[in-house]
Amino acid sequence: MKWSTLRGRVVTWYVGLLAAALIVFGATLYFGVQSYLRSTLQDGLIDQAKAIGTTFLAFEEQKGPAWMGGEISEAYAPEVSGRFIRITRQDGKVIYQSGDTRDPLINTDTIPPPTFERDSGWFRTERQPGATNLLVYAYPFRSSTGTRYFIETGTSLASLERMLTSLLDIVLIIMPFILLAATLGGQAMMKLPLQPLVTLTERAEHIGTSKLGERLPVIDTGDEMERLSLSLNRMISRLEDALSHNQRFSADVSHELRTPLTIMRGELEHALVDPDMAPSTRDSIGSALEEISRMAKIVESLLAIARLDSGADAIDPHPEDISKLCRWVMEQMHLLAEEKHISMSVHTLPMIVSIDPARMKQVLVNLIDNAIKYTPDGGSISLNSFVVGRLAVIQVTDNGIGIPASALPNVFDRFYRTDKARSRVSGGTGLGLAIVKAICHAHGGSVTLTSSEGAGTLVRIELPLAAGAPASPSPATSARPSPVEVAAD
């Protein structure tokens, strides 16, 4: 039973409480029965002792001990009653003693004589080695002449003990069975009302990872579950609205910005045709044109992200060898790295992944471009790809300036820049990593970034392997990829 599940916890609590209740009940039963049986025995002994006193001992002095002995033996034959009877006079002489009994075994000789210290009757338990324990009642009796006697009546505790033992046995044997039955029953009982919750969780997970257009099944029970599923659905609706509004807004803005950008660019380019223009004016117009180009890039990128996020611009995946793509990108980017004397290496194994090659190229170019931008002269960049389980992993590592820890959670956000001044100079759009993330997600994969400031950055992309592609044959193979050096173009 897993403690981490609601069902596990509820059943554990409930079985624990049941066990405690059973223990209390068992103990109460045991001691209650014990005290009832004991008091019944005691009452019998008291009655017997008193009866012997008034019926026989009162006439002992007149009729003689022989008569009394005969009468008592006749009334309470030890073989029949299974009782022990002894009458002792105050001088210590035993004037009557019943014989030994066989079943239960009472060895009368071993019972110590009473002490004449008390004036009222009292009980004691005699432990007889090899025989049953004896409950003995000693009753002080004063005859009409004033002679003091002690009438002792005793009975075996064997039957009482036997009964209590079997009661205890029953309780101890039955209790685990009750608890086991309660656990199983509880599990089954909890499973039924919790089943919709499990379904709900699975569906919510599915909706979360793919389409917001779907809804959770409404649990038609009229209880808290139904209210939960309804309010979750309302929440998903609101999320969907907000998201689609956001995406539509991005798309609309991008479209609307395109026409004015076209006009600005066209007018300025036309103005540049004038051969008599002063060089400073020409420069100003050139600068404006550069900014228009950048703005156009931002608009394009925003639109691309909005489409990828909404799934409208569905990617067109087919099985491709990632390692080929990696090498191709490295070859293309090699000169850029050489400019900064950055060494580039690629370690990759052939692996087939269902991707949109144009989009994935864009991802790799983006990441390598970032790595080159943020690695100082003489640094190194490596691109590795390998298989872990059912995932294809692509890693881009550099030993560049890194990213401060405080900025790490936001690097994939749109327009987030770790260092505004630096990024402006390099002329990026602030959307590169956002696009990378959108493309990876559209492929059903993920992208993570780890970095330490001053030491370098590692970007890791995980993509599901194409169905039927061989998974990692052994960890040793993926740990030792055959190094492939890329030649300069």
């Binding site: 050139g286 000169l335 850029l336």
Partner: protein, 225 residues
């Protein structure tokens, strides 16, 4: 050569018109789909530049109706929409080429000339700019008779520049022709390759052929042209 521009945004059609007129084309402009269709059917244009989103009659509808009567006239579409479906629908509708807004006028011109079959299509095996020679058969580059060793990418870049001699090529156009769109807007790869190419082609000579046009891109042009 007579060109019809159907574009509802007057400022866009205005600079397109001015630019094309400067290139010695005869240009008619109209601002809505219905009028555009009537003009396209009334006059034998050599090229129609058609915006996709038009009032009264949508651009794709105009295109379809033009194609019913005239299958020959080349049509260049202008669009602010660039999803794959949009592009496919345009080509299926009979468009010959398209440009996504915002476009550089230089690109519009290159595509216009290509569609009018007198532009960059230079099929002779050698091209020359000044004393720079490029042989497409042997893929050799010579300047002042001296052989220059270039890499494959540098060759493609130089070939594209020389094909469009005297015309400004934006970085975007160069990337699309020499690389592919995954490099678009991300890297300074064009600048790096142009620098390398210059080092080989221009640096040993006093006359510089490859020119940077700030804000627009690069251009190759011989001396005195």
């Amino acid at each position: 050569m007579r060109i019809l521009v159907v574009e509802d945004e007057p400022k866009v059609s205005s600079f397109v018109q001015r630019g094309l007129v400067a290139e010695r084309y005869a240009v008619d402009v109209c601002g809505d789909g219905r009028e555009g269709l009537e003009m396209a059917q009334a006059f034998p244009y050599d090229l129609i530049i058609l915006d996709l989103m038009l009032p009264r009659l949508d651009g794709s509808e105009v295109l379809q109706r033009i194609r019913r009567t005239n299958t020959c006239v080349p049509v260049l579409m202008l669009t602010a929409r660039d999803t794959v479906e949009d592009k496919v629908r345009m080509f299926e509708g009979g468009a010959d080429d398209y440009l996504t807004k915002p476009f550089a006028f230089a690109e519009l011109l290159v595509r216009t000339k290509a569609l009018l079959r007198r532009g960059p299509v230079n099929r002779s095996s050698t091209m020359t700019v000044g004393n720079l020679e490029l042989d497409r058969l042997t893929q050799q580059v010579k300047r002042a008779g001296k052989r220059i060793e270039v890499t494959a990418k540098e060759y493609s870049l130089l070939e594209y520049l020389m094909q469009n001699e005297g015309r400004v090529l934006s970085r975007n156009m160069i990337i699309e022709h020499v690389w592919d769109q995954s490099f678009d807007g991300i890297t300074n790869i064009v600048d790096v390759y142009v620098r390398h190419l210059r080092a080989k082609v221009d640096d040993p000579h006093t006359v510089k052929l490859i020119r940077t046009v700030r804000g627009s891109g690069y251009m190759i042009r011989g001396e005195g042209e």
